[in-house]
Amino acid sequence: MTQQKGHPLIRLTDVSKSFGPIDVLRGINLDVAAGEVCCVLGDNGAGKSTLINIIAGLHQHTSGRYTVDGHDVRFGSPREALDLGISAVYQHLALVPLLPVWRNFFLGSELTRGVWPFARLDKAQMKEITDQALQNMGIVVKDLEQPVGTLSGGQRQCVAIARAIHFGARVLILDEPTAALGVKQSGVVLKYISRAAQESGVGVVFITHNPHHAYMVGDSFAILSRGEIDLRARREELSVDDLIYRMAGGAELESLQHEMGR
């Protein structure tokens, strides 16, 4: 399923979104290519979550074009997006804490043997596949029978991402996967994100507040500001300091500093 790196998967052209009278997104242009990580940054309320909710099929755009593999789409539900391989991993909604790792991995897509009503879970095979999928991505889990809730936050996030990829995700949408994690755990997830993009060829949309995290994994960056794209640049076009400067509001921050007389 590995796709040619750089092959465009999804593209938003002049997309806008309003909730009633409120314009939340205006004239958004964004594209995500296979094997690349596209980082979306921005302040609170900038519209990041709204943007990815449109991509993932939770909301519909008000105007503009959204294409997948060059075909116009307008999703009625996340299921429709999923069927085209567009999968969102939400931090708190990804896994069931009390359920063992392998049962979580296959939840909703369980493998069975035998015919109804005697169809039973194919435990051995599911455990083996889970084991393989996690190993391939370098995730070490002591015991697949342990409840997911006993894994660290970073490991949990990785298991959810591994699951999405295993079940055919081509575009992976991650809304602040590192927000609640410490330095070390964030490292685990970031490393995993770049590995997923490079080895599985998925396109990743990575939402974050943290420009350092973004620069570690990003191939391209988009800064959202009050519903508009303020900056769209590829990695080679800017340094991490540029990114921090632009994210902090650039000129605005300077004038604030000036005002405060420091």
Binding site: P97, L98, L99, L107, S109, I193, A197, R232
Partner: protein, 368 residues
């Protein structure tokens, strides 16, 4: 902007954060299931949801074995098993429901509703008890489905939904019985067609090792076996744990949450019907006010057996052992020559101990 393909891949930028984490880079052991030591095995056993109830069962058994002379003979043991089965069959279904994250307060009176329906339908309309049995089954499954549908449509907590249906059913049981029979109980149905065959299915006794054992004991074991198989070995079982553990996550990966919940309520309806039929063919007549309070005993058994009130955790075997504890207690108190009124007190004590113990277990489980 995207005509140049970036070759400065993310991996090229080594991050101090990522490098400091070496757990993700360790080579994988060939086998994920290494030889487990005695200590690990014990630790694994302690994590079983029913472990607390097994300890409780041993404790109660020893207590009454020591205190009550008649408790020591086999004949009384068959009575203990019977008591356990009559309470335990609905408790198994209630345990599945609780693992799925919901309560059913209507289960106690639903048993009576089912016997009343079968008895009156057979006596008044058809004259054949099997038609009444079928009618009661449809009714019981419908009550379960109604609970589930109300839960989903109103978005209310199942405690409130089933408290409402409990009160409504209780009222209907009393009022309709009065209306139809002019009495607080239904009439004797033992001379209706099909009574003997129905009685042999639902309320017969077997002689084994000199003990007279009710057929309900075997049904009880069958209920536990089927429920355990469903829970641990089928897709539906996986879904039950998931919808109780975190419904939103389960739905997000395509688990049919609504169907699972409605199905679980219908399972309780089925168990209520089953016990209702037993009581009808065992006692021949039905008191319309019966059943109130049993719903709490079903829940208590499931909780003693390790089910969490918050859902997502528990076992059918645990609920069965919870039933066994309650069965031993009912009979043990009588054999010890105490006033049976003490029963509820003991149930309360056991529930408290079990809950404290199970909470401790869960902390061990989630700690890993």
């Amino acid at each position: 902007m995207s005509e140049t393909v970036s070759n400065t891949g993310p991996a090229a930028t080594s991050s101090p954060a990522a490098a400091s984490d070496n757990t993700a880079q360790q080579p994988q052991p060939a086998s994920r299931e290494p030889h487990r030591s005695m200590g690990q095995r014990l630790a694994g056993l302690i994590k079983r949801p029913e472990i607390g109830s097994i300890g409780g069962a041993i404790l109660v058994f020893v207590l009454f074995y020591a205190l009550a002379e008649p408790f020591r003979n086999l004949a009384s043991f068959s009575t203990v098993l019977y008591q356990s089965a009559a309470l335990g069959i609905p408790a198994v279904a209630v345990a599945l429901l609780m693992i799925g994250g919901e309560f059913d307060l209507s289960a106690g009176v639903a048993v009576t509703a089912s016997s009343l329906a079968a008895s009156m339908f057979a006596a008044q309309i058809t004259g054949n008890v099997w038609v009444g049995v079928g009618f009661a089954l449809v009714l019981s499954l419908s009550i379960g489905a109604l609970n589930g549908i109300l839960l989903i449509k109103t978005g209310l907590h199942s405690f409130l939904v089933t408290l409402s249906t409990f009160l409504m059913l209780q009222g209907l049981n009393l009022a309709i019985t009065k209306l139809v029979t002019g009495n607080v109980a239904t009439g004797d149905i033992s001379d209706l067609a099909g009574f003997d065959s129905a009685q042999s299915v639902f309320a017969s006794y077997f002689n084994i090792f000199g003990m007279s054992i009710s057929i309900m004991v075997f049904y009880w074991l069958a209920f536990v076996a089927v429920a355990t198989w469903i829970l641990l070995r089928t897709r539906v079982g996986n879904w039950i744990f998931a919808v109780g553990g975190q419904g939103d996550s389960a739905r997000a990966v395509g688990v049919p949450l609504n169907k699972v919940k409605i199905g679980l309520f219908m399972g309780v309806g089925f168990a209520a019907w089953f016990v209702g039929m037993h009581l009808l063919f065992d006692y021949v007549t039905v008191q319309s006010g019966e059943g109130v309070g049993n719903e709490l005993l079903y829940i208590a058994q499931a909780v003693v057996g390790g089910c969490l009130l918050t859902g997502g955790y528990g076992s059918a075997i645990g609920a069965a052992i919870g039933g066994f504890i309650f069965g031993m207690t009912t009979q043990g108190i009588i054999y010890a020559g105490w006033d049976p009124q003490w029963f509820m007190f003991f149930v309360g004590v056991m529930l408290l101990l079990a809950t404290v113990f199970n909470a401790w277990i869960r902390r061990q489980v989630t700690r890993g």
